[in-house]
Amino acid sequence: MSAEIRTSDGELLSVKLRKVERRRRTTAFLLAAPLLFFIVFAYVIPIFQMLGRSVDNVQMNEFLSETHEVMQTWDGTEMPGEDVTSTFFYELKGLVEEKNHGKIATRLNYEKGGFTSLIKKTARKLKDFDENGNFLDQFIDVHKKWGDIEYWLALKRGTDAYHFRKYLTTFDYEQKFDGSIERIPEKKRINVTLWLRTIFVAAGVTFCCFLLAYPISHLLSVLPTRYSNLLMICVLLPFWTSLLVRTSSWMVLLQKQGVLNDTLVSLGIVADEGRLELMYNMTGTFIAMTQILLPFMVLPLYSVMKTIPPSLMRAATSMGATPFLAFRKIYFPLTYAGISAGSILVFVLSIGYYITPALVGGAKGTLISNRIAYHMQQSLDWSLATAMAAVLLVAVLIVYWLYNKIVGIDNMRLG
């Protein structure tokens, strides 16, 4: 055993060192704390709360809690009994008095179309009900849809506190009332098409960005500082312009009567009747997104290329490699870190891109993000919107995970 080392005031040195270390760590944490709180309260919590909405149906469950409970004993093979219908009657009556029946109408309408009008009509007639019995017949008298067992099944299912049916909808599947999962009718399918298109556009934009950015980045890395700064400003200029302005200027350029088509027509390359469709389709989305996301590819590539000494290529050629071989075997492999960092950045950004496809994409160029926005703003089916957003988030995380597996996140360099 070695003798214990003590400080001048008699304390054990190891204890004292630990204390100092703890104090140092506390200080460091306190400095980072404001940012941490900001991220947690302004970012993490809201996101998870929103994502929760994709499975959350607690409000419905509370509005119709007794009906829900009574319905658990109903097997759904034939029309519900008096216990279910009477409970539903009284709960609905309470909701009408609190003016909350509109909310359940919207919710139930997602489960089965026609529920909105059904609930509204029923709500108006509730005061005429004879509370002594035979509620089912009275419901059917109000509206014949109550005689369709599927509305009652929808009511049962629609009052579950949690459900995952929105995730099925995300991929164009639905759960039938008998519990089986099927694809929705072909002409209603849209989400899968959008998912595939989103992935295709994201991959395509990433590839186009790579093709365009590689030579520019190389040029940036070899030019004397004077010129490379100027070129860098040109590359970064889009960053300093509003995204809306940039997208709008693409609209000015690309539309049928736009600058590009006018030029082509006046040069006689295309006929006046044959003006190119460059906007409101996939072409427009591709062109505009590639331009807007280009800097995200240039910067990581540039930062990696800057570190490759020119002597490596010289060494390779001095050893007998043709310039092309030297590029393929030496230069290109050394830029993998930049290529992968730029690609993941552009891919992840474009997979969730919204404004540009919304403005220049038209019907054929919209992406999944536009669908999410549609459900957030127009159909108001926030559950579906958040389910889609959750799938998107998972997709990005998978990309990130794959990247870490293949390249390693430590190798990422972002300018």
């Binding site: 000494p309 002597s311 490596l312 060494a315 001095s318 007998g320 490699a321 310039p323 071989l325």
Partner: protein, 362 residues
């Protein structure tokens, strides 16, 4: 050396200008013999690296022609020249292992696998790096990286190897031992080496011949000892080794001897090297170790000096004196017992032979 070409590499009136205004290399004529170790020595900006780069093919001469083994190579791209090169910062491929680095020039030449392995083993043995095949360059020390770079330049048996300040990044001790190692490798292989450095010690240690560059021109091309003993102009005299100088005007010029009047009015008898007529200004160069203190024998130049500073250096003592108006005149005195009586402020007699004191250009 029979059968070896004396003009294995030949520069013929080569000019190089980067900006079209200023010549970095001016009218270079240089013959490099087969199997020799030639060093291009000079301060930065003197054109030595440009000369090397033109030979390697990374720069094109503005005028003139370069011949390699009898063939003009101005229009041959670097990858077809078959010249090995060691770069200043080694230029090892960081993503390839030592083995793969060495295999690169061989694979490019489509040599079969078994022979690649054999050649690499042989070369690694030569630079004493056997067992390091699978290391990555980043896992090697500076000296080891340097050896890999040398091995890589030699592994494909080039007839000519160029080295661009390859030892510049190493510390002093390592640099010295690598100098001997490179010299031995050169002697073993008999390969022609053109070596660029700004370090005169390095040049003197390794080279058969040294070309001293300044201002885009070769100032002197000769063996290490001639360069030191008989510099042909003031630049070479000042650049190589330590040097005492006097400036003055030539009064009389005879064959083998010139009388030069210093600014203090004294006459020094000197060996006229780069002066052609009386009345010319001249810079006189004198090596510190050629000066005798209190000479007893008859000697042509003899003056009194005052000791200003004495610095002990272990094996010798450096003495700074004021002589003929030159306050920075340095003497190197071996630390023998007879010389221990020097004291600050003493007046001493200094003498040197006219042969050792060279009258050069101003």
């Amino acid at each position: 050396m029979s059968g070896k070409k004396s003009d294995f590499v030949k520069f013929e009136q080569v000019d190089k200008s980067y900006d079209g205004k200023e010549l970095v290399v001016k009218g270079l004529d240089l013959d490099i013999a087969e199997g020799e170790f030639l060093t291009l020595l000079g301060p930065s900006g003197s054109g030595k690296t440009t000369t090397l780069m033109m030979l390697a093919g990374f720069e094109t001469p503005t005028n003139g022609e370069i011949y390699f083994d009898g063939n003009p190579i101005n229009n041959i791209p670097p990858h077809k020249r078959g010249i090995g090169m060691v770069f200043q910062n080694y230029a090892l491929f960081p993503h390839l292992s030592v083995f793969e680095n060495l295999a690169f020039p061989l694979k490019v030449r489509k040599i079969d696998k078994a022979e690649i392995e054999e050649r690499i083993n042989k070369t690694l043995k030569m630079v004493s790096l056997t067992g390091f095949e699978n290391r990555m360059p980043a896992q090697l020390s500076g000296g080891q990286q340097q050896r890999v770079a040398v091995a890589r330049a030699l592994v494909f048996d080039p007839k000519l190897v160029l080295m661009d300040e390859p030892l510049g990044a190493l510390d002093k001790n390592l640099r010295e031992s690598m100098q001997y190692e490179l010299k031995h490798i050169h002697e073993t292989l008999g390969v022609t080496v053109v070596y660029v450095t700004h370090d005169q010690g390095e040049a003197l240690t390794m080279s058969n011949r040294i070309a001293v560059f300044n201002d885009g021109k070769v100032q002197q091309l000769s063996g290490p000892n001639e360069l030191y003993e008989t510099p042909v102009n003031s630049f070479v005299a000042g650049f190589i080794g330590e040097n005492n100088t006097f400036t003055g005007t030539v009064k009389e010029l005879a064959s083998g001897s010139a009388k030069v009047e210093t600014i203090t009015g004294e006459i020094i008898i000197a060996n006229p090297i780069a002066v052609s007529s009386a009345g010319e200004k001249s810079r006189i160069s004198l090596r510190p170790e050629r000066v005798n203190i209190n000479p007893t024998e008859q000697i042509e130049n003899r003056f009194e000096a005052e000791i200003k500073e004495i610095i002990y250096h272990g094996d010798h003592t450096r003495v700074r004196v004021n002589l003929l108006g030159n306050d920075d005149f340095i003497l190197k005195v071996p630390n023998a017992s007879s010389n221990s009586k020097l004291n600050l402020g003493d007046k001493v007699n200094l003498g040197w032979s006219s042969q050792d004191c060279r009258a050069l250009d101003y």
